[in-house]
Point group: C2
Chain length 194, copies 2
Amino acid sequence: MEALRKMIQEKGFGIGHDIVKVDMFLNHTIDTKLLFKMGEAWAEEFRDAKPELVLTVEASGIAMAVAAAHALGDLPVVFAKKSNTSVLSSETVQAGVYSFTHKTQNTIRIDRKYLPEGTRVLIIDDFLADGQAVHGLLSLCEQQKAEVVGVGIAVEKGFQEGGKKLREAGIHLKSLAIVDGIEDGKIILRPDDD
Amino acid sequence: MEALRKMIQEKGFGIGHDIVKVDMFLNHTIDTKLLFKMGEAWAEEFRDAKPELVLTVEASGIAMAVAAAHALGDLPVVFAKKSNTSVLSSETVQAGVYSFTHKTQNTIRIDRKYLPEGTRVLIIDDFLADGQAVHGLLSLCEQQKAEVVGVGIAVEKGFQEGGKKLREAGIHLKSLAIVDGIEDGKIILRPDDD
């Protein structure tokens, strides 16, 4: 998506070989104008799949899920909560998510009644690297027998395995920008496919 | 605000004397249609104060901040991050926030460069009870010499002290719904003032 790619090139920067810093417009400060354009881009990609609900995980996915849901006609948004406890109640469903960035194992959970069986779900998140967070969200949907119609990502790290694995699994994935690598602090973006 | 009050009466419920459950439309599932109406209501209240930035704290404040920022002409949103560490770097400013609900002391922090001196700030959050989270956000603004032009809240617990203290301090506060108490699981709302 051109507007996001342009912003990444103008304002984003890389650290080391794998850290993509975009918190000046995406996940600490949010450029709201860009955000709603991103929502439109996901809506265009996934409208025909007729999602009924947008699912994300707190915290930085929330703004993007809201923008996508808005562009799709104000769908409900459900965000999974991060939890330090692994105690499962009968009312919640949970999945483990390992963070390679923070080297921590988290549990994400939702209240079962907010993800009913058969719901057509669009998953939205800010980053896709190794795919742990998306796999956690997919697991929640699978446990609830909800139907995932697509996965929308803002920034995919194309040099990690998450996106490749999702595509190989036949999941309809749309990443608005794909980073192929970082060279001397500069973010190298993959040429746009649309 | 009528639409929020109606939703609280129809779908919300109380637990014990002080827990207001609204996670079926506000802070776990988000009713996006209602969310953007709430954004409009805050924008109407605060537009004349000419805010330049909307500040909130992760996670459940983010959706509301985005809606308010959108209605105010796509202002930037900055969300403070919750942090378990109290180690302060030269790049961040932080404040302590005690959670009476979870009986925990948290630190919230932002990157200094995203809250420049002199910025006119609108603070948005989902709940106002004892006011700890808002006071943390006010503290961040004060440390950065940013100017708080108002505080917009979705649900104020009118039976706790947070709102009263902010009004007494002369802060322009707009709570879209005020809960006066809980009786047998029913949420008692204060009559609307607008």
